[in-house]
Amino acid sequence: MTISIRSVEKKFGRYPALNHVDLEIADGELVALLGPSGSGKTTLLRTIAGLEFPDAGQVLFEGQDVTFASAAARRVGFVFQQYALFKHMTVARNIAFGLDVRKGKDKPPKAEIARRVDELLKLVELDGLGKRYPSQLSGGQRQRVALSRALAVQPSVLLLDEPFGALDATVRKSLRKELRRVHDATGVTTIFVTHDQEEALGLADRVAILNAGRIEQIGTPDEVHDNPATPFVCGFVGEANRFEGTVSGGRFTSGAVSFDANGVKDGAAVGFVRPHDLAPDDGGFEVRVDRVHVQGALASVSASTADGRHVEITASRAEAARFTGTIKLAARKSHVYPA
C-alpha cells in the first residue's frame, strides 16, 4: 500500500500541529516518524489512520483519496502507546475483535476466527495465553497482544504510536526486533512514531524527522545521520557539538574552535561536529582535557577551550591515553549551516 500525504495542515485551536506536510511512503516500507514532543508526529500518524481529519491537504492510499474516510474504511491497524486493550475481554477476544465486529458474509466463521487468533498468537510468541486477561500480562506481552489485534484485520497499513514508550529498555530492544520480524514476515506497510532516535535509526527503512509541525528531512538512517539537511536534524539525530560562529573563506570559526566549512557562504553560521569526528591533530585548535570516561570499548572525553567552549569527543579505548593535559583537535567531518 503506497501512502501519499499532500500538504496536510492541522490546527488545534490556534496552535498548528501540522504545517504543509508532504510525505510519500512506498509499499511495504517501514518508516519512522521521529521528533521531539509537540513536533506533530502523532498528529500525522493519526491523520494517516483516520483518527484525525486534516484542515487542509490530502491523504491518498494507493492513489485513492481517503482524507475523510473512517479508520475502518481505510483498513488500518493501529497500535496505541498505552496498548488500549479491552480490559474485560480475554486476549483471544481482544485479537478477534476486529473480526467479531464484522457482519453478514464478511464475518469469518467461528472456527476460522479461532484459527486466525492462534496464528497471530504464534506470530508474536504468545501461544497458549489466549485465555488470559490483559491485566494478567506484562507490559511487553500486552503490547504484543495489541500488535496482533491490529494485524488480525489484515490491515493495509500498520500504524504504531510510540509503541515501546512505556516499556523498560530490555523489553524495548526485544520488541523492536519483533516488530522488524513481523514486518518482514507480513510485508505490511508500517509507520511508527517515536521520540527515540536509536529506535528510529535502528529499526526503520526510512526516517522522517519532524519539528514544529514540519518534516525537516526524510531519508535512510544513514542519510539523516551523515548528511543532515538542517541544523535541527543535525542536532537531533546523533550526538553533536554545536557552535555558533561565523564563516569566512570556507572556514568556520567560533572563538578558538575552527573547522572546515566548504561551500558555505560567508556570514553568521552554526556548526556541528560529531564527537567521533574529532581527533587529535597538531594543526587543530587547542583544548584542555577535563575528564575521560571509559565505557566498554569507547572512551568519551570532555574538554574545553581556553575561552570556555565545551567539546565532547568519542575515541576508542586505545586512543584514550592520548587525551591528557592540553591537546590539539581537528574535525574530520563537520556540518555548517548559515544562521
Binding site: A49, G50, L51, S70, A71, A72, V76, G77, F78, F80, Q82, A84, L85, F86, K87, H88, F97, G98, V101, R102, Y133, P134, S135, R149, V153
Partner: protein, 286 residues
C-alpha cells in the same frame, strides 16, 4: 514491598500517636453524637413498646401504600437517571462539543438548589395555576399531587448521582479503547455496549445504589408536590412526618426504622461491592 515485621511498625510519615488518637477520637465522638446516637434512637423508639406494635405500625394500609409508592418512585427514577447518567457521562467524557461546561454545570444544579425549590418548580410548571395547568386539566392529566409529580421531583433531586459517578471515571479511562474499537470497524453503538459500558459497570452500579438510597429518602421536593394524601401520595418519609405530627411516635419511628433499614442495606451492598471489587472507584474490570 515487605510487610512490616513488627506489629507497631510505624512509617516515617506517621504523626505522633497522641495526635492520631486525638483526631480519630474526635471523629468518632462526632460521628457517635450526630449519626450513631440518633440512628440508635430511631430503632429504640420504634421498639419501645416491643416488636408487636412496631410491626403493626408498618402493616397498616396507609403504611403499605407509602412503602409501595416509595418503591415505585425509586423503580422509575433510578433507571431513568441511570440511562441519563450514562448518556451524559458518555457525551461529556468522550466527546467535545460547544456548551459542554454549561451541561456540566446543569448536571450539578440539583445539588445546589434547595429541594423545596425543586418541588416548587414543578408546581409552577404543572400545578393548577402553572404554565401547563389548564391544558393538563382539560386532558384530565394529574401531575402535581399525584404520582407523576412525585416521580419527577425525585428524578430532579437524584439526577446528578450517577452522572457524577461516571464522568470522572470515563474521563480517566480516556478514549483510546474506543478509538481502537472504531478503527477495527465497530459502530458507535457496538463500541458503547462492548467497550465503554463494561469498563464502567462497577461505577454505574455504585452510582445506582447511591441514587436509590437518595430516591427512597427524598423528603423536601416530594413534600411540595405530593399533597400528602394518605394512602395515595404519601411516600415513606412523608408518612413518617404525618405520624410524628399526630404524636403517634411508635408508628412514626417504626416506619422511620424501616426506611433506615433500606438505606443501611444499600450501604452494606455498596461496601460488599467495594470489598469484592477493590477498584470499584476506578471502575476497571479487574
Amino acid at each position: 514491598m515487605t510487610a512490616p515485621t513488627r506489629a507497631h511498625a510505624r512509617r516515617p510519615t506517621d504523626d505522633p500517636l497522641w495526635a492520631k488518637a486525638l483526631v480519630i477520637g474526635l471523629v468518632l465522638a462526632f460521628l457517635g453524637l450526630v449519626l450513631i446516637l440518633p440512628l440508635a434512637a430511631v430503632f429504640a423508639e420504634a421498639l419501645r413498646k416491643g416488636l408487636g406494635p412496631a410491626v403493626a405500625a408498618i402493616s397498616t394500609p396507609d403504611a403499605w401504600a407509602a412503602i409501595k409508592l416509595t418503591l415505585i418512585t425509586a423503580a422509575i427514577a433510578v433507571p431513568f437517571n441511570a440511562l441519563f447518567g450514562l448518556c451524559a457521562a458518555w457525551a461529556i467524557a468522550k466527546h467535545d462539543f460547544p456548551g459542554k461546561p454549561l451541561l456540566i454545570t446543569l448536571i450539578d444544579l440539583p445539588f445546589s438548589v434547595s429541594p423545596v425549590v425543586a418541588g416548587l418548580i414543578y408546581v409552577l410548571v404543572f400545578g393548577l395555576q402553572g404554565w401547563f395547568g389548564e391544558r393538563l386539566i382539560d386532558h384530565d392529566i394529574k401531575i402535581i399531587f399525584a404520582i407523576p409529580g412525585i416521580v419527577l421531583a425525585t428524578i430532579f433531586v437524584t439526577f446528578p448521582f450517577i452522572a457524577r459517578e461516571l464522568i470522572p471515571l470515563m474521563q480517566e479511562q480516556g478514549v483510546s479503547e474506543e478509538e481502537a474499537a472504531v478503527s477495527m470497524g465497530a459502530s458507535g453503538l457496538y463500541t458503547f455496549w462492548r467497550v465503554t459500558a463494561p469498563n464502567v459497570r462497577w461505577g454505574l452500579l455504585y452510582g445506582v445504589l447511591l441514587c436509590n438510597a437518595r430516591a427512597m429518602g427524598e423528603f423536601g421536593a416530594v413534600s411540595v408536590v405530593s399533597g400528602h394524601i394518605r394512602g395515595l401520595t404519601n411516600t415513606m418519609p412523608l408518612h413518617v412526618e404525618i405520624l410524628y405530627n399526630e404524636y403517634d411516635f411508635v408508628s412514626a419511628f417504626a416506619v422511620a426504622a424501616l426506611l433506615c433499614l433500606l438505606a443501611i442495606v444499600t450501604l452494606v451492598l455498596k461496601s460488599v461491592l467495594e470489598i469484592a471489587q477493590p477498584d470499584v472507584k476506578r471502575g476497571g474490570g479487574h
